[in-house]
């Protein structure tokens, strides 16, 4: 009796192993079963001054999920967006992520506002082998040696800063003034601007202001004293208005180039009485935009993304804040190409030009990652400068 039972168990085991081995074929995903592809997002509805950026980033992810699911999902399974209502608070985001991993581990993670959440969650995402497409561009999420599953989405600082060089050359400007805030982003911007502009032979003066101050006259005068040909200016929210008002008050007639965070400030993309378009404050101002933010140069993929987002809610911030749309599209293309939801396979697929150049992304056309650098190596003409215009549906000139 015992021998027969042992034989039966043995046959059943061999049979089940054979069925498992023969079950997959080349066209089916190797894992994931019937479960949806789960993307977790640091979301919410109130992040203080960054609320518009946060809600726009979440809307972008929702729109992309809709587009992907309408087209059949990832490897034939729907995509599920798990929203963490942390309001971009790093501690809450981390706590919610831990809880989600314990309950049902997500396949991928994205953030919707700033780099603080990115820095907080990067370690635990790495430990749990969860792919991380980071629109916050945290310092340790672009180095494959440290974190092989993390990728930056936003343009590298170098690309943003080098975007000024053609403008300098075109206008024959030699002396550059840089005025920037004191947030972590702004400090990096200032440091890199000084390095890049000086290396290229421009006489550069860099002055930092306190983003919480209510008057920047002293700092503006410090730059003005060096008599630059052009003022490169970084800021977001109230400080943008205070600096522009300060320059107007001083009667300083200098061309001003605002960086992408200036572009994200509604004050410069709104008509009076709420905004400053057409006022003396914006007379000399040009703002840095990606080609997708400029409606005149936007691609068909961008138009599709904008239409989808607009049909699902109000796009309150610029399209620069919609990198999560691209994140979902990149994940979809990579996982479908790899025919797998496996983190390692998706990460490897993201390095392939046939994936990162053909993902129908909206903000940037391509995300050229390399094996040793997970920052998208974008071309120098990724950004252009335009006069301030009304921002509608995340775009200027819409």
């Amino acid at each position: 009796m015992k021998r027969r039972l042992g034989l039966l168990v043995g046959l059943a085991t061999v049979g089940s192993l054979m069925m498992t081995a023969c079950g997959g074929n080349g066209e089916e995903p190797q894992d994931g079963g019937s479960a949806p592809y789960k993307i977790m997002i640091s979301a919410g509805s109130d992040a203080g001054a960054q609320t518009d950026q946060l809600t726009t980033g979440v809307l972008a992810a929702r729109a992309a999920v809709k587009v992907v699911n309408d087209a059949g999902g990832i490897n034939g399974k729907p995509v599920e967006l798990i929203e963490s209502p942390d309001n971009a608070d790093p501690q809450k985001a981390l706590s919610n992520l831990r809880a989600q991993i314990a309950k049902d581990k997500p396949n991928a993670y994205v953030v919707a506002s700033g780099s603080n959440v990115s820095a907080a969650v990067a370690g635990i995402l790495r430990q749990n082998e969860i792919i991380f497409l980071d629109s916050g561009n945290a310092a340790d999420t672009n180095k494959p040696a440290d974190n092989p599953y993390a990728f930056h989405l936003a343009a590298p600082f170098k690309t943003v800063v080098e975007g000024y060089l053609p403008e300098f050359e075109k206008n024959g400007w030699k002396k550059i003034g840089v005025l920037h805030g004191n947030s972590a982003y702004a400090k990096q911007f200032g440091a890199l601007a000084q390095q890049v502009f000086t290396e290229k032979g421009y006489e550069t003066t860099v002055v930092e202001y306190d983003s919480k101050a209510l008057d920047m006259t002293a700092q503006i005068q410090a730059v003005q004293a060096k008599n630059p040909d052009v003022l490169v200016f970084n800021g977001y929210g109230g400080p943008v208005g205070l600096v522009l008002k300060g320059i107007t008050k001083l009667g300083w007639n200098v061309p001003i180039l605002g960086d992408t965070s200036v572009t994200s400030t509604p004050l410069v993309t709104t008509n009076p009485p709420d905004g400053l378009i057409g006022t003396p404050e914006t007379k000399n101002l040009k703002i840095e935009v990606t080609r997708s933010v400029n409606a005149a140069t936007a691609s068909d993929a961008t138009k599709k993304a904008v239409d989808t987002m607009a049909s699902m809610g109000e796009i309150k911030a610029s399209l620069n804040n919609c990198l999560n749309y691209d994140a979902v599209m990149l994940l979809t293309t990579a996982a479908n190409h790899a025919k797998s939801n496996d983190t390692k396979a998706v990460a490897e697929a993201l390095l392939l030009p046939e994936v990162n150049t053909k993902a129908n992304t909206a903000v940037y056309d391509t995300y050229p990652y390399t094996a040793d650098n997970h920052q998208p190596q974008l071309p120098v003409d990724t950004h252009t400068f335009v006069a301030p215009g009304v921002l509608k549906n995340g775009q200027i000139g819409n």
């Binding site: 609320t51 518009d52 930092e208 109230g238 008050k249 004050l267 009076p272």
Partner: protein, 287 residues
Amino acid sequence: MTLIYAGLSIGAVYALVAIGYNIVFIASHSFNFAQAQLMMIGAFVAYAGYVTFKLPLVAVLALAMVVVAAIAALEERIAIRPVSDHQTQLITTLGFGTVLTGVAQLIWGTQPKEVRVGVEPLSVLGGRTVPIEIALVVLAIALVVAINIYTRRRMGGLALVAMSQDEEAATLRGVDVRKLAFAAFAVTGLLAGLMGAVMAPRTFAITTLGTALALKGFVALAIGGFGSMWGGLIGGFTIGLVEQLVGRYLETRLDAHLSNLSIFVVLLLVLMIKPTGLFGRVQERTV
């Protein structure tokens, strides 16, 4: 001169916060940590009146004063009166300020709102300024003068001073302490509404205004001396001028916080030399 004008005008804003702190301090020996948030609400009401409802300037100022006075009266009822000791009032007023910031965010959002009045640049004595900066300095000085005259020559003002010196003695002399404290709060709100409305074209109406002003208003008061209106004014101007001069001549790219730091250095120096602040008085009682 431009820096002097800028320093005096932003100093006037700090002084206006300090004046608000002072009125409540004189009346009840506690601090209204929601004072800066009341001014922030005043700025937003000015925005609503001027931009949304397109009211004339005088009506905008009146509206801001009435609305903020009503909010301050409400604050006295729910955050001051039910609380017996002054230490707890620090927390309840701080909480009330946080609620005001949240409500403002819900109504007006988180982005700065432009109130475009008196911002056309002009040259005065070789320096550049705008009319609203001059108006702020004039308002701050006028308020201090008016409050000083009131507290020295009017019965209500004398009662307020009596109350600040000895609440029990004032009560025995027939002063309705509770009513006067409430009135002081409402008047503080009235003035905060006016100050916020005048300040808005200079600073924008923005929800972070409260946080930006609260600390520096308090430092202005500490430099000038608690309870002294002239002290609050001089303290405000001192901070504004130090900020601008340090920002222009000492600050480097690496430390935008130097101007903030310099304010606290000045505060420390003042407190080391005169612990009660420049115009503060030590109250002595024979026991």
